[in-house]
Subunit: 135 residues, 2 copies
DNA sequence: TCAACCTTGACACATCCGTGGTAAGGTTGG
DNA sequence: CCAACCTTACCACGGATGTGTCAAGGTTGA
């Protein structure tokens, strides 16, 4: 065996065995298993565990947020949706005349919907974009 | 006034006034204010509120996660750190001979530390990378 | 002026998240 | 074979999230 058991891995990475299992359930680091089902941590896992601690403490992140970042990498559709959202949220260009704001926003929204719909069901931009009562 | 009050905005975006205030506190959508302090939602905000609902429901995200994505955009250092983490976590290339795994991982880790340290304090890759007891 | 609406702040509550235990039972290796 | 370690499955618990409601007081606009 060229790998450590959970307790040994925990000691040298400064996590608790409990947390190592939790981290695994969170999908962040999934070690190999022995025949009998024991978790086996190799050098790679150990390094990732240390790096994980760095991330969590230095940037005050939760495991959920790191998992979300991983999801953003793997799920292009999600990444595209976040892209659209971010552009819509980013500074509304002051050089766009007020009368055009709505169209601008709607374009962004349409892009998002199209992107998302393309990968789920062919829901063709339904009644989500109605008139906005300016009262 | 070419903008809606919180109650009107809530109705047409299908959020509750309570949640609109919550979303604002979360830093996701911050509407203008009237002289007297009333929140004023313009077309842009309304569109973003609808898009936000799309994101949250379609991808089952929390406001925190969306806020984290925004943070990832603005904070290059954080983005770099996540980059490094992700590469380290990504499938360990099987063509890298076992004996080199550790070095490979350490390189990634060093990059992360360098990147991060460069922007915080000049902590020169301290004793974080020690020998790994292979017991 | 005054009804209708807004603001902040606080209490409430169900549900996660991050952690630590403990129990019952299987695995390892000297 | 057997002590030492591991596994899964629970209970617990403080803190954060998401959401509602209520109170006390200010703003708006016809």
């Amino acid at each position: 065996m060229d790998a450590l058991t959970i307790q040994e891995a925990a000691q040298i990475t400064d996590w608790s065995p409990r947390m190592l299992r939790y981290i695994e359930r969170a999908g962040l680091i999934e070690p190999q298993r022995s025949e009998g089902g024991y978790r086996l941590y190799g050098p790679g896992e150990l390094q990732r565990l240390r790096t994980l601690r760095e991330l969590v403490t230095r940037y005050d992140l939760g495991l959920g947020e790191i998992g979300f970042a991983m999801r953003l990498r793997r799920d292009e559709e999600l990444a595209g949706a976040m892209d659209a959202w971010f552009q819509a949220v980013a500074r509304r260009p002051d050089d766009v005349p007020p009368a055009d704001w709505l169209r601008w926003e709607q374009d962004k929204h349409s892009k998002l919907l199209a992107l998302a719909a393309a990968h789920t069901r062919p829901e063709p931009t339904s009644g989500l974009i109605e008139e906005i009562p300016t009262q």
